[in-house]
Symmetry: C2
Subunit: 411 residues, 2 copies
């Protein structure tokens, strides 16, 4: 007998028929004697519908009140799933975030979980209930409803698994696991049986979009066993996220090829190469709430250097304006140039720690295809390059093949 | 400066545009220096939408889970109205029933309010907030969400007014007050400036449907000043429900003509006239959850009597079946007959306490029009008759005229 937290996303509970399917899946686990807590998101489309309603009233909806509204989406889902479980003769009980005492800070629309009161939950589990808990939401110490931000239901699942020491937190999605790359680009892409926590972090932040980054970090911090599975297939073990490199077996060098075409690059050229210049450039950008991804500054010469970074494509024009109007005159830069027709392609794998030559192999493979590399950034377990957007898919395909991902044998 | 509870129903908050209108009305009162708590229902249609969703999953939805679902309707309304008030630069804050500590019993879908914790509310009012509270809902002592039944938002408004000793509980609806009768039947019907609590009870139970009966009873018990107003008109004082007869002025004899065409009559004839017979007949009917309205038993003769009562029209055939199959053979009645093409017409007024002859005048007026009276029931402040359905409108019109309701001068 095991104790599972199972999280089902908006697509998995997108209709009452799908909710009944989720109930049947939960019932199967329950009949095997497992204890189950189910975490659900709002029915797909519901959160956006509620946000649109709010926008009809306030252009920038008050965050506290927006949370009161959008938290109703999950509240409907938990009731429907509990009913569906009862229809299968399973004792079920729903809890909103506030009811199950998911205590958060007061940062409305992006709150962080501080504590979960486990007494009520333990009691219900002992009484044989399947608990259905609203994802994405909690309450602050004044009792105001809070939400955790998009994808926050994953975080709720992981937080419950951590607080209650569940055996596994299973994230059911519309994909059946983590792949070496996007199968829509490389049909030979393979599902990974396991992926390390660090690789997953790089995959998530690079745009794999299957798991919310914060949930993965949270799981890593509390060593929660996290598994990604399909809610539409009955078989399949999905992908398990592990927290230790497997010492017994040869680790594959590279786990996957990630990519992201939502980026734009900006270069501030000919800036004085003195301490504080990076802050002078990026401070005003951060103040405008623009997230910066890659940052590159090469060795300068003649007292001048070039400073480059990437931002989300939607922030491109706004950031260019800030740089041209405020920063260029202020720091005395020669020029500000940029482009939003770029893509980032990354090779990810914990194996590269102990294998030299990954970066050079990557560069050689791209050169052989005539793909020019515009920017390079590296970490311990990934190498990212920025290339012209039109080469992105080609780059992903040739790298996937060059690193033998089609034939990867997993531990 | 006064302290008002204002309740807006589902039609009044049926769209974001209407919610903005409600906000402007609340703002007007607020700008005059009044303290305001607003109680809102779900946007019209929303509760039914949620119930339909639940029915797709469970034919008889679990009451606890149904309450979790349908309570989201008001939760959306309170957030939207709070946002709309903030757009008008008014400090506003929303509370669900559970958050504002409306403690109820655990009778899901028809819970009763036990207590309201006023500390939080007082503090917010002192801080200058307009509070927007979800109608229709509360929480039981375990923290489970409860709802108060259809029309429960009125009850929430009255309960808040009673607990906080508000100066007035204003019920905004799609009509501008209580009329002497339905203006669709009698165009000359007049709005009453005041109506007594007892008259209102009779009007509500007779089908006037403007205020929920339970809310009126609640208001009577705590002597809450209750006013019915239109949420679509800017002027107008609506109708005030009073708890004492005005001794200073001549009370009009009759306040209004109520009617109800949703009834059916049933007669069990030739039953032995002995103690307990009423219970033997009505016990099984009550066990089948059929509500009985008028009950009439006349003096018997030859040891036999006839027993008649009315039920809601939708319960007619089921009740006839119970009577024919179970009760008639059991009590040895001669026959069970009934009809569902009837209507009830009532003359209501506290003035009839001190004025004789109301009933006889009513019977004379109906006789002059050739309307046969099938059943009669009287209370201290009303006389009700059952007539053929086809005469209902005629009966209402001639009685309205005969009792001078077109020219009524109100105190």
């Amino acid at each position: 007998m095991a104790f599972y937290i199972q999280k089902y996303g908006g697509t998995s509970v997108g209709s009452t028929e799908r909710i009944k399917n989720v109930a049947r899946r939960v019932a199967k686990f329950h009949s095997q004697g497992h204890q189950i807590i189910v975490v659900v998101s709002a029915m797909s489309g519901e959160t956006n519908r509620l946000i649109s309603l709010a926008n009809e009233v306030q252009a920038n909806p008050d965050p506290r009140e927006l949370d009161v509204m959008i938290s109703t989406g999950e509240q409907v889902s938990i009731a429907l799933l509990s009913m569906a479980l009862m229809e299968l003769n399973i004792k079920a009980k729903s809890y909103t975030g506030a009811q199950v005492s998911i205590l958060t800070d007061s940062a409305h629309t992006k709150a962080r979980i501080l504590n979960i009161d486990e007494d009520k939950i333990r009691k219900d589990l002992q009484d044989g209930y399947v608990l259905v808990v609203a994802g994405f939401q909690g309450a602050d110490k004044t009792g105001s409803i809070t939400t955790l931000g998009r994808g926050g239901s994953d975080t709720t699942g992981v937080a419950l698994a951590a607080a209650l020491k569940a055996d596994e937190c299973q994230i059911y999605t519309d994909v059946d696991g983590i792949y070496t790359t996007d199968p829509r680009i490389v049909p030979e892409a393979r599902r990974l049986k396991t992926v390390t926590f660090e690789e997953m972090l790089e995959m998530a932040s690079l745009g794999s979009k299957i798991l919310q980054l914060r949930a993965v970090e949270f799981a890593g911090k509390y060593k929660v066993k996290l598994r990604v599975l399909s809610s539409f297939e009955d078989e399949g073990e999905g992908t398990l996220i592990t927290y230790e490199e497997n010492k017994d077996m040869e680790q594959p060098v590279i786990s996957g090829i990630a990519f992201n075409r939502d980026e734009a690059k900006i270069t501030v050229s000919g800036v004085p190469d003195h301490p504080g210049i990076a802050y002078q450039i990026l401070g005003p950008v951060a103040d405008a709430n623009v997230d910066v991804d890659m940052i590159i500054q090469n060795v300068g010469h003649d007292g001048l250097t070039d400073f480059s970074f990437t931002v989300h494509r939607r922030d491109f024009s706004g950031t260019m304006e800030i740089l041209k109007n405020k920063i260029q005159p202020h720091v005395g830069a020669r020029d500000v140039i940029g482009g939003d027709r770029i893509a980032k392609v990354s090779v990810v794998g914990v194996g590269m720690r102990s294998h030299a030559g990954i970066a050079s192999k990557m560069f050689r493979v791209l050169a052989e295809e005539g793909i020019n590399i515009q920017m390079i950034a590296t970490s311990e377990i990934k190498v990212s390059v920025v290339v012209d957007e039109k080469y992105m898919e080609l780059a992903v395909r040739v790298l996937h093949k060059a690193f033998d991902l089609e034939q990867v044998v997993q531990n």
